[in-house]
Symmetry: C2
């Protein structure tokens, strides 16, 4: 039984179609599709991927193949009236590889196959252009020699250069026919020298060698590497497309070009293309001649132009998408050589999807599915002009998208100061800490030498919607000298740099930026998303400004308001330190009382911005030592004081210095007491609230007083109090008791009652595992997938830079699990937590407030495991809305299909 | 319908029995049981716990109660021929509380109830002893006044003291009858003054007041606190025992005493007791007169003695256990007042269980269940003589059982040095690090000021079977001054201290120690354990000595050999540092090649000791910075070198110092590079083996070369290679590939093949959750429950001291989860891991090698979730064997019942 390996297309009929990409590859399937549509496509045939698979399995081509190719060739000769190897009217073909997905690294193209010492003369006669014929032959030998016979490209280039010198010309096309004839001979000779083989004169032999070369290119090292990275199965194999040559360089009534059916940059509904008269495809790419805008073809070849527009329109309607097309006009006759769905900018992606839905070409759901939420994120930040071609001086992790330029500043205080004076600054640090918040907030962007995608700098910057590059291991920061060195280049304080948080690149100087644009179609798309999504979308926001921004972007509440950020500003940090340094509960309470009014005002601000929507406030989370100065700083300050002491001039001064020393020593002792080996797993979260219940009390009081006072003003407040880092039911019970008690107290004092909920973060594996217990008390869960990822993997996000990049490079992990939720591991704990929690409390409200809440794949996962909401940084709210809609639509489609 | 609240016992018949502890309390149930057995017990009745429960529910005693008590009293009067309040022949009773379990904090006892101004005279006449009668009355008023009427005990003591002064005597019993009469009046007056109430003269009123006092004592703060700590439900309530008084102080034919049916200290099968002639129970306890050994009663009252022995024998046979008994002889008549199963030393526990089984009193299974594995551990270490009454100077955590004395040394090197010179030393540190191993190994014991039960010091000390007290927060260590301060007391280097690792106490000076004894019955018990247990027991051992010890204790292989400890000794640490400092893989390989022969010899030693048994070797686990000096040390050394440089006398010296400085700076740079925020979650475990595959290669080579060479010598080797800290299948695949490749290489080189297995630690939540994937490659799992507990709870065991003690005190956690496996959380992950792992590979071998492998409750859990083996420190192997047997027997019994 003979298996079919060869699929013919031509004469308005093809054996394949666009659905057969697995068998015919992407390129081939579209050639068949177009042929069937009656689009003028040069006829040819596709050798299926199965032949390639057979080839690798058995080390030879299938037995049936030669005869099938022979038959296809015969059909081709009949259809074109030309013959393979016929000196009078030679059939020339192109041979191209084509896998299911486009794959760099494989053999690309051999053109003009079928030329030899005899047919080249026929071609010269037919075209009446000897130079053209020999140039084609020369190019063919060069391509064939390098791609099929494995000769370094260089070998041919050297001969070509010599020839140009010999003829005293500088450009290839200045060589006369005579020179090209000589070059052909020299090429053939060199091939013989290097391979011991003659350049094959038999077109059939040429064809078979090319086919095998395509097969083999599937397994060359570059292709294997590419497949490994992109997880493309080795078993797919590639197809081979053999297609009749057409020539756009047969004179001034010939041309070649490329076109998009709509503008791939803006999405505008207008064909966008370029062409060259009397040229081959290669010439357009080579950039020697400047192509003309497609519109000009209207004047030069009005009929061809009209035909092209009709073809483009048909193709777009047929494929129901914006198409990327290659065409050739051979002596006025139009041919399409390639059709594929066109790549586009994020902006065009949105506009085209919405436009097509409005045109009725697709429906809303399809429009929503067409827009990649990962790409959409870029629309929400300024970016470096895509035309900019500068060389980066360093490469880090793209921690927070958008680009920014500014002067380099190393000290956060100085950064804040300079920014207030009106300078644009980029804060450059080893890594950032909560002390640096003010400086970060005032900077245009942040660059750190250390840290991963969820390091402090990354998380805070994303929250602020500020461009940030972290873990730029290429750079060494020297605070003392106030410089950083990047790839040998020294960058000083005050020098201007540009960082691109979307790609992780760092440039010296000011790179041109393109501002973010919010536009009509984007807003329409998000409205459509809201119609379909089931997940609610909230934002992580600590400040009224952030809350306002989030609401503008469509957030339906705050899913995480961190209270600790509020403690770093101004006087507050001093009161906080006073609290930490207290020895007795009473002293602590006194210090906390000073913080209470600040916290209350903070909460009022958030409640006001989110009037009518829920606001989830997390009680104090970080370890106390984060609020104290660093040990090294204190040691330095002490050293200075001792130095001063030695030079004190009188008793009074001496006494004053000694007092200062005692205070510092006291602080130092406390800093050392609080020092932890693994602060991530240390005395923080609810553990603090349990050992220092007065902190929870103060925070609860601030929340309820704020809520009551606003309610009296007529503002609708919906506070949700969230206890962090719970690992046992007893911990939560302890904290919840305090919250309820304080609520009762405040309601009594104020004479107002406010509805509220108390819930918990699920951010430790034990909390997920014992969720059925914890749900006895928790009214809601919010998965803190940052910490949950840390503990589930045993990865410290501050240290993971030491091996995670290598893991991803080696393919041990597909993604950074701090960016994309690890669905199999961390996700399964989420699933278990939801299931067990709801087994106790069926109406348990469940959300997520880790970084993953804004990652599209993770948002979709959240939808699938039945979460009620996701919460992410304000800038990612639109992304989450879109992803949530896609998740709902995909689920619906799966249920149907 | 009348509910029964009062249960009568007396006259050879009782309404209750020993099974009715819930209703009658422990004490009451045994009084009923003895009565039924025909043992002479003073008659009485028990008011059930239900009455107490009713009392708290309704705020009053049940309606039926007064009449039932009345009837019981009547029966009592009939049976004894005495009458309540009868001045001629007064019935006197004791009133005692008695809950299901013995509970300090509740009211204990009121004796002589029924005495008043009239009956006291009757008692004087009947006993012909006025002094006795008034002393009894005085005592009764005092007890009743304080226990029932709530008058501070002190008030009576003051009057008593004044009276003694007045009469010029020093001891209570020197007061004449006259004085006691006066005292009775003064007591009554004081009661009136303080309470406004008369001391009740009506015996019935006395009785009801006493009964209510017992009820109320169930809810006094001390009792509530005790129940909270011991998780005793509030709903249980207490019973009240009202029992006829008998008097051991009615002359020289009366006596009172206590006895154990066997020696509670040694377990010897011989009654062990003490008595006092003409005395009441109080007197035995008060310690004013020295009791005589029970044997002497044989001479003083031969008949009573014989009767007692018979009763004891009957009771022991009846209860099938060693009994703790109280008796009184009133005018030659023997009465039993209390019977309960006797407390005993661990040694006696073992001996009695084995003896009783050999006597046929119980079977082997019961013998095994009778021995508390937690107590057994103490038998394996020397301990402080229980008679020693010294006052500890500090209290820490009991990290590794056993006691040791020695001179205080702070520097590990010095400790090792002094030990080698023959001194006994106790190493005292803030905390220990791997650098200190040698000093630890040479010391008698280790004391640290910081750290928890699984800190470095604790884990290593347990592994070494060395006494260790950690986290003694009372002490402040000052390395500079070479002293530590404990509760204000300064202890200097060279001072002798004793530490008790079983209790966490630290004593100044040399406390008397009792050596550990391995004895026949213990070995028999363990053999029996082996007959029943299904879990295999292996040991964690890194050195041949440890392996030998483990095998002596019955270990069936090594479940965890840590390879990193091997790198700290002598030259090895230098080669290790060289490896870490290398910039290229080639340099690293050269350094590793130096380590290979050492590792090979290490493994040979282990394989030899464990010939025929499996040896599980874990590849390198700790982060590399553990092998480098600490940053602070380097900074100090550098400071010194710079100081030297300033004083260098010539060029040569200058050059040398500069070279040294460069080397140190280089080291410092690397130390800083390797610094991590959370080393526990950092670059360690298989992450090292993946970024530095040459380390895994070297270790695999050392294992296989050792195995092949020993096999050629005829030693049976069963290596199991274990990859640590795996969180994804891909990590394990990467490491396993290396192991298999090296195995093939070595087998080819040596011409010998050895069977081996490759498996993984499951010590991260993700590994447990994705166990079905990991089991595709892993041939065995070993749960590393130390790290799994850290990550599941998000607790750093190095830092947990900051809140865990408080958590346990507050009852938020019942146990330290690093000691006792958290079955609900961590345990559920273990269960999930086993289930999912075996779903892929049904014959997957699964063990545990965390600290929990030696904790009895955790061992039982391991049995229940179907583990194949536990692995623990050598000294805990017998403990684990016993616990494993109990688990199997308990399971069998549960299936039956």
């Amino acid at each position: 039984m003979s298996k079919k390996y060869v699929y013919f297309f031509g004469g308005g009929k093809a054996e394949g179609n666009a659905q057969m990409k697995d068998l015919l590859g992407g390129k081939g399937a579209n050639l068949h599709e177009m042929t069937n549509l009656g689009i003028p496509v040069p006829p040819g045939f596709t050798i299926s991927t199965e032949a390639c698979v057979y080839y690798f399995k058995h080390g030879k081509v299938p037995e049936e193949l030669p005869q099938q190719v022979e038959e296809a060739l015969k059909r081709l000769e009949e259809l074109t009236g030309k013959r393979f190897g016929d000196p009078e009217n030679p059939l020339l073909v192109s041979v191209r590889s084509g896998a299911r997905v486009s794959m760099p690294g494989m053999m690309d193209t051999v053109l003009n196959l079928g030329l030899n010492d005899e047919t080249v003369q026929g071609l010269a006669r037919l075209t009446n252009d000897e130079r053209f014929a020999y140039d084609s032959y020369r190019r063919f030998i060069q391509m064939f020699g390098s791609v099929v016979m494995g000769i370094p490209h260089d070998e041919f280039e050297k001969l070509l250069e010599r020839k140009k010198k010999q003829y005293g010309v500088t450009l290839d096309y200045e060589l006369p026919a005579e020179a090209l004839k000589e070059l052909v001979e020299e090429y053939k000779k060199r091939i013989k020298e290097l391979t011991g083989q003659e350049f094959p004169q038999d077109p059939k032999k040429q064809l078979w060698m090319a086919i095998e070369a395509v097969f083999k290119s599937w397994n060359n090292p570059r292709a294997i590497e590419y497949r490994k990275i992109h997880r493309i199965p080795d078993e797919w194999g590639t197809a081979v497309n053999v297609q009749t040559m057409v020539f756009g360089n047969m004179g001034n009534d010939s041309a070649t070009g490329v076109a998009f059916t709509r503008n791939p940059s803006t999405g505008e509904k207008k064909v966008y293309g370029e062409y060259l008269v009397n040229a081959q495809g290669e010439d357009v790419v080579a950039g020697i001649r400047t192509p003309k805008p497609l519109e000009e073809l209207k004047n030069e070849m009005p009929e061809a132009y009209e035909e092209l527009l009709q073809v483009f329109d048909r193709l777009e309607k047929h494929y129901r998408d914006m198409m990327d097309l290659e065409f050739t006009i051979e002596r006025k006759k139009v041919y399409l050589l390639q059709a594929r769905v066109g790549k586009r900018t994020p902006r065009a992606m949105v506009k085209i999807a919405v436009d097509m839905a409005r045109e009725g070409l697709i429906d809303k759901k399809e429009a929503l599915l067409r827009v990649d939420p990962y790409k959409v994120e870029q629309l929400l930040h300024p970016m470096i002009d895509p035309k900019f071609r500068g060389e980066p001086i360093a490469q880090g992790l793209p921690a927070s998208p958008g680009a920014a330029s500014g002067m380099v500043v190393f000290d956060p205080e100085e950064a804040a100061h300079l920014a207030e004076e009106g300078h644009k600054v980029i804060l450059v640090r080893h890594e950032t800490s909560p002390d640096d918040i003010r400086g970060m907030a005032r900077s245009q962007g942040i660059l750190t030498a250390r840290g991963g995608m969820t390091s402090h700098a990354a998380v805070v910057a994303r929250g602020m919607g500020k461009p940030c590059v972290v873990g730029a291991e290429d750079i060494t920061v020297d605070y003392d000298r106030q410089v950083f060195v990047a790839r040998g280049q020294e960058v000083r304080k005050g020098d201007i740099i540009t960082i691109d948080g979307s790609t992780g690149r760092v440039f010296l100087g000011e790179a041109p930026l393109v501002p973010p644009e919010l536009f009509e179609e984007f807003e329409i798309l998000l409205q459509w998303a809201d119609e379909f999504r089931k997940l609610r979308v909230r934002a992580n926001a600590d400040k009224p400004e952030d809350a306002r921004k989030a609401r503008e972007f469509g957030a339906e509440g705050i899913g995480l308001a961190r209270t600790e950020h509020m403690f770093f500003e101004g006087h507050r940090i001093r009161a906080m330190q006073e609290m930490i340094l207290s020895d007795t509960e009473e002293e602590r309470r006194r210090a906390l009382a000073k913080l209470l009014p600040f916290q209350k005002e903070d909460f009022k601000g958030l409640f006001r911005e989110m009037a009518g929507l829920p606001v989830t406030i997390r009680t104090l989370d970080p370890p106390l030592h984060e609020f104290l100065p660093k040990e090294e700083e204190l040691l330095e300050e002490l050293a200075e004081l001792y130095f001063d002491l030695a030079g004190a001039e009188n008793l009074k001064e001496t006494r004053q210095i000694i007092e200062q020393i005692q205070a510092k020593e006291n602080l130092l002792k406390r800093v050392r007491d609080l020092k932890e080996m693994n602060p991530m797993l240390g005395h923080r979260g609810c553990r603090l609230g349990i050992t220092h219940p007065e902190i929870t009390e103060m925070q609860a009081r601030a929340i309820f007083e704020a809520a009551c006072e606003l309610k009296e003003e007529g503002v609708e407040v919906k506070p949700e109090i969230m206890i962090p880092l719970v690992s046992t039911l007893a911990e939560l019970e302890h904290q919840v008791e305090i919250v309820h008690r304080v609520a009762r107290e405040v309601f009594r004092e104020k004479g107002v009652e406010v509805e509220y909920q108390v819930g918990t973060m699920i951010e430790l594996p034990r909390a997920a595992i014992t969720a059925h217990q914890i749900a006895k008390v928790a009214q809601f869960f919010s998965f803190g997938t940052n910490d949950l990822t840390q503990t589930t993997f045993g990865f410290s996000r501050d240290d993971v830079g030491k091996f995670l990049p290598k893991y991803i490079e080696m393919g041990i992990l597909k993604d950074d699990p701090f960016q994309v939720l690890d669905q199999e591991g961390v996700g399964d704990l989420v699933r278990i937590g939801v299931e067990r929690g709801r087994s106790t409390r069926p109406d348990l409200k469940v959300g997520i407030c880790g970084e993953h809440g804004g990652d599209p794949a993770s948002v979709k996962f959240c939808h699938r495991v039945g979460l009620d909401y996701v919460s992410c940084s304000p800038y990612r709210v639109p992304v989450a809305r879109l992803a949530a809609a896609q998740a709902a639509i995909e689920e619906e489609q799966q249920k149907k299909g």
